[in-house]
């Protein structure tokens, strides 16, 4: 068997591969379910119902998908430059912290101002956190993968500290609830992000922002000088430098951009859904890591990120709704993992062509 690089990637493959991946993943999941004596069709049916069909399911799916869209876009933004920002998790927390702080500080101001300030603060929080691995990568060539990963845990601990182990500004110390279990201050009404209902489907402001960001990101990378530079440096940093591009600055800028997107996702958690800084809720959801999976499945295309976030959000929403004795616990993670495994495996068929022959003949060499 020989594996060789494809000279051209047929367009139909980039659609066929994800679809086939999903089908194959469901086949594997069926095997798992049958092996553990669960009726597969019935289970999938319930999953699908809870995700998309039943009353209000779609709105809940949007709720679950919104943060994934943000973290997915964040990962995709960085990956365009072959930067692996796996700190989307922490950057989302950072955005949630700064967003909530600004919301509390500006209590009483007109709502649009508060909301606008939250978006900016969230973006800034995420960007500042992402700047740390960015600076280390740009100036010390420290691997950004591990540093951004480590910072996730640091910020998770900071968030815990703010609510559980200190008397911080963000912690609720007065309410009845707070005396039972520590929690964050409830944000003022002005800080509630608007939402629109269309045919019973509730669309939060965050979801719309995510879609807008996807469009903006696509435009940025497809049609601007900045995007061109990012692509060149991502492909070959030496070529970028040779062409006179400021590679270090670009690394930093892209990391900050990526962090800012995740940070807005954090602010959206405060403003759209949780209305307080909610450490447990945020740290248990693994939005950041799932976001990387979303981006990878979407092959780092911003529009596909939104779509994939919606699908995986549906799965998560269903898993959450169906939690209980009669539904196989952990099936959602298994399914998500399987889909990704299959997509990763399928990627091989996009990039390479597999040929079965015994003879080794030298391929014509482009350069010797």
């Amino acid at each position: 068997m020989r594996v060789e690089r494809r000279l051209e990637q047929p367009r139909w493959l980039s659609l066929a591969v994800p679809l086939v991946s999903i089908v194959v993943a469901f086949v594997f999941a069926t095997i798992v379910l049958v092996a553990t004596h669960h009726p597969p069709l019935h289970t999938f049916r319930r999953l699908f119902d809870a995700a998309f069909l039943s009353n209000g399911a779609l709105s809940e799916t949007v709720v679950a998908a919104t943060p994934l869209a943000f973290t997915g876009l964040a990962a995709a933004a960085a990956f365009r430059m072959r930067l692996f920002n796996i700190g989307g998790e922490g950057q989302l927390y950072a955005g949630a912290i700064t967003g909530a702080t600004v919301a509390l500080l500006l209590a009483g101001a007109p709502s649009p101002i508060v909301i606008g300030a939250m978006v900016i603060a969230g973006a800034a929080g995420g960007a500042v956190l992402a700047a740390i691995p960015g600076i280390l990568r740009a100036f010390f060539s420290t691997n950004e993968i591990i540093t951004s990963l480590m910072l996730n845990y640091v910020v998770a601990l900071i968030i815990d500290y703010l609510i559980f182990d200190s008397h911080s500004y963000l912690r609720d110390t007065k309410g009845f609830q707070a005396s039972v279990f520590p929690q964050g201050k409830i944000l003022p009404n002005e800080a509630s992000w608007s939402s629109w209902t269309i045919h019973g489907l509730a669309l939060p402001l965050g979801a719309l922002l995510a879609v807008l960001l996807a469009v903006a990101l696509w435009g940025l990378y497809a049609g601007t000088r900045f995007g061109f530079e990012v692509k060149v440096i991502g492909d070959s940093a030496r070529a970028g430098r040779y062409a006179g591009m400021r590679t270090r600055r670009k690394i930093l800028a892209v990391m900050c951009l990526s962090g800012a997107i995740a940070g807005i996702g954090g602010a959206s958690q405060d403003g759209d859904f949780r209305h307080q800084l909610d450490p447990r809720g945020l740290t248990q959801a693994n939005y950041g890591y799932t976001g990387i999976v979303v981006a990878a499945l979407a092959r780092y295309n911003p529009f596909a990120v939104v779509l994939v976030a919606f699908l995986l959000g549906g799965l998560q929403n269903a898993g959450f709704t169906l939690q209980g004795a009669d539904f196989p616990n952990g099936l959602v993670g298994v399914l998500q993992g399987l889909i990704l495994f299959c997509a990763l495996g399928g990627e091989l068929f996009v990039r390479y062509r597999v040929r079965f022959d015994r003879r080794r003949t030298p391929a014509p060499e482009p350069v010797s």
Binding site: I146, D165, G337, F341
Partner: protein, 319 residues
């Protein structure tokens, strides 16, 4: 004397550090062969749940049951690693994404919980568990008693593993080969070292170690099955490998160091001092970042840095 802060912290640091040590040794082996596996957390959890399942189901004397359970945990971890190895070695998929996918697949919201739920393992204490093996009289010796003699067999076994892995890497031919595969697969391949086989083997053994690390939780520290009981230990293990500059002996020091940070706030509380545990818990991560920055310069990278081919799929150049 044996209740003094230092002794308590060291003794419990060793106990908390042991699962980290196992998982880190495994990750170290995989990384030395050039495979970065971010799925440690998932492999640990599956190891924990399967080890616990085995101990509940094997009807045998305690020692045998526990040995069997460790074997099952290692096997389960290795099986998880096999998915990763197939994807990244054979199919040359992105190692980071595949590792994360493994964590999602096997982790808290995935297979480990699925199995824990399906095999009805929650809310029951372990039928057998690892206990201190030295008699109480040894443990009462000042200072060394609790630290050296108050530990379970898993701790002593881990010391053996550290020595074995260290000797394996530096003194054996296979160790030389695996280091070559991690540093320069092209050079190794030219000298007829089978890159694929070495990467598979070490990723699988790495998964086995992670499984044992997970079982350390469910059979010794906790000891019962709770979904997500590792609480991020897998990620610390990944950090630990970097912190230890990819050296097994430093892994041991680092694991106990990190373990002690976990234990310190609780020990301090016992002495009437209240500090935020988050402060100490975040130190391993911060120190790992610093360690990484320190080895970033070209000269330092050659001596202490990551294996040069870490994370890079190997494709033989044939023109």
């Amino acid at each position: 004397m044996n209740n003094s802060l230092l002794v308590v912290v060291l003794a419990s640091g060793i106990a908390y550090g042991t699962p980290l040590l196992y998982a880190a040794l495994g990750e170290l082996l995989a990384e030395r062969s050039g495979v970065l596996n971010l799925g440690v957390e998932g492999m640990m959890l599956v190891g924990a749940v399967m080890g616990f399942w085995a101990v509940q189901r094997i009807h045998a004397a305690t020692t045998l049951a526990l040995l069997g359970a460790i074997g099952v945990a290692a096997l389960a971890g290795a099986l998880m690693a096999l998915i990763h190895a197939f994807l990244v070695v054979t199919l040359r998929a992105n190692q980071i994404v595949s590792g994360l996918a493994l964590t999602i697949f096997a982790g808290v919201a995935g297979l480990s919980s699925y199995l824990g739920n399906d095999l009805n393992l929650a809310r029951a204490p372990a039928r057998h568990q690892f206990q201190e093996i030295f008699p109480k009289s040894f443990q009462n010796w000042p200072v060394v008693g609790p630290i050296l003699f108050g530990q379970s067999a898993l701790v002593y076994a881990s010391w053996g593993c550290v020595v074995l892995v260290a000797l394996y890497l530096t003194r054996t031919r296979m160790g030389l080969n695996v280091r070559a595969v991690g540093e320069s697969p092209a050079a190794a391949d030219a000298m007829c070292v089978n890159v694929t086989r070495y990467r598979y083997a070490h990723t699988l053994v790495g998964g086995g170690f992670a499984g044992v690390g997970g079982a350390t939780f469910s059979l010794s520290i906790t000891p019962q099955w709770i979904a997500g009981l590792t609480q991020g230990a897998g990620w610390i293990a990944i950090a630990l490998v970097i912190f230890a500059f990819w050296r097994p002996t430093l892994c041991l020091v680092g694991a106990y160091f990190f373990g002690a940070f976990t234990a310190l706030p609780f020990a301090l509380q016992g002495h009437g001092v209240t500090v935020a545990p988050e402060l100490f818990q975040s130190l391993p991560y911060v120190m790992t970042i610093l360690a990484l920055v320190l080895v970033s310069s070209r000269a330092a990278r050659l001596r202490f840095g990551a294996p040069a081919a870490l994370g890079i799929p190997y494709v033989r150049e044939e023109g």
